[in-house]
Subunit: 299 residues, 2 copies
């Protein structure tokens, strides 16, 4: 899906809602569990119920992988069922040396190889440029690079203060004793991830993960990424505020995909789960429509 097609969907549905497809057998209604492929059946009903209100779907790959082969079967059926006008995200957090990342790209982008073709995949940046490039080389596909995540541990490394002027080659052996005054070059690691990745080839195919629990950091992030799209998890069950995300993160093309999983797909654990999921998706869509109207993006 192209950027323009995504923006059109956002305007058409007046929504930037992404529904997280995190199917957990422990939370599913009993009548679904009796079916031959309960995960696919659950997802199918959630998709049918929420598609008018959602512009994207994000299967969290771990939920499928934990079940081995049958999980991959359910995942493949799910991806192929999602309507073509919805943006699909493989939330896989992959990343490895080049020849290996090329294979992960085949797993999620190349239907001939794996049976699946997502529009995008989440990728971890730790291994650097050549670990991301194999994903970026697919035309009309997107890499959603981890920047600042929604979990508590995001502070451990993502918010370390770095000084790129010192790195990486100049002082390999004596950095522990060098006297350098940090000043305007000070940046958090996640900011370094944002700015370096913007210099890579096909950077126009990059989006970034920014947790809703770090909404105020969106101001700093928009200084580096004014125009790009951000995938925002953490609204709902994790405690992030949609209003704050919009205040600090909305740009002229919307530029946001806000993910909600548990608050939608487990809105009810009864036979009415799809109906309740629809109501919650619609509630979020209406709040989003309001913000888009205020910003003058939709009528």
């Amino acid at each position: 899906m192209t950027r323009q097609q995504l923006i059109e969907q956002i305007r058409r549905k007046k929504s930037f809602l992404c529904v997280g497809l995190d199917p957990d057998l422990k939370k599913m209604p009993a009548h679904i569990l009796r079916m031959p492929d309960p995960i696919f059946e659950f997802n199918k009903q959630i998709i049918d119920a929420t598609a008018p209100y959602a512009v994207a779907y994000k299967p969290n790959i771990a939920f499928y992988e934990a079940l081995g082969q049958r999980g991959w079967n359910s995942l493949q059926r799910t991806v192929n069922y999602i309507p073509k006008d919805c943006f699909t995200i493989a939330d896989a957090k992959r990343g490895d040396i080049g020849n290996t990342s090329a294979l992960y790209a085949k797993a999620f982008f190349d239907k001939d190889s794996s049976g699946m073709s997502f529009d995008s995949i989440t990728v971890a940046p730790y291994m650097g440029r050549d670990s991301v490039m194999p994903f970026l080389e697919f035309e009309n596909k997107w890499v959603i690079l981890l920047a600042l995540t929604s979990n508590e541990g995001s502070g451990d490394f993502q918010m370390l203060v770095t000084n790129p002027l010192l790195s990486p080659k100049d002082n390999e052996d004596d950095i522990s004793n060098s006297q350098v005054i940090l000043d305007t070059n000070n940046r958090y690691l996640f900011e370094e991830v944002l700015s370096r990745s913007q210099t890579w080839p096909h950077a126009d195919r990059l989006m970034y993960v920014v947790g809703a629990t770090k909404a105020q950091m969106l101001q700093r992030i928009r200084q580096i990424i004014p125009d790009g799209f951000l995938l925002i998890p953490g609204v709902g069950a994790q405690g992030g505020s949609l209003e704050e995300v919009v205040r600090y993160g909305l740009n002229k093309d919307c530029g946001l995909l806000v993910n909600a999983a548990r608050s939608i797909i487990y809105a009810s654990s009864g036979v009415d789960f799809a109906q309740k999921a629809q109501e919650e998706a619609q509630r979020m869509q209406q709040e989003m429509a309001h913000y888009l109207q205020v910003a003058g993006m939709v009528a």
Copy 2:
């Protein structure tokens, strides 16, 4: 597998060789490709041929995942075929928020859930402590955390200079203007990953990935991790030197698992591939036996 069991295997086989199981249909002999499950058949013959010389096997998960469900079937059969006295590594580079990492841990550690039970998994550190803890909570299992990888892009972020005294909370809003003299607190990001992770619960279940292409950095790494095990990829096809790895990385319990994949498993593309793989594994084992003898670890 416990640390003591691993050390016993190293002494018994006089080897710290890990064979990378990276099965590539394009590189396999024609007679293997005609079999119903060529990937498993290839791996089986490689394992049979190399098991006397290898203490560990490391399937690179991407090679299986790229093939979708049938790849996962081949992976499951492979893991279950590896002899129980060999240490198994799921080279998966996973890592996500806590509840998701817990599912990845089930995928690779919990046979009841996924059909597979590895001894260890490689994990990316970017998301911090709570993304790693679900893997560390499994008794007698290991997390092999990415520290300094073997690829060119490892310099992009892993070798950024950080100053932990500034991070993460003290100066959230004004780090860009703060005047701080970096001195003995200067560390590379990968060193911060090493030292922080050593403070986490169950840190005795941590190993680290350090690329053989960065062998001289092993001196710095051994200052932080004197006793732990390091998984060293990059010897062979990627150009790293076994001699240098040993010089800078060997500790009193060996403390090294050196991975070779392509140089062993594709030593020949003919009907003699297993024989040639055996010869190359034995050649590496003999070199390793020499180093272990010089160090007085084996007779």
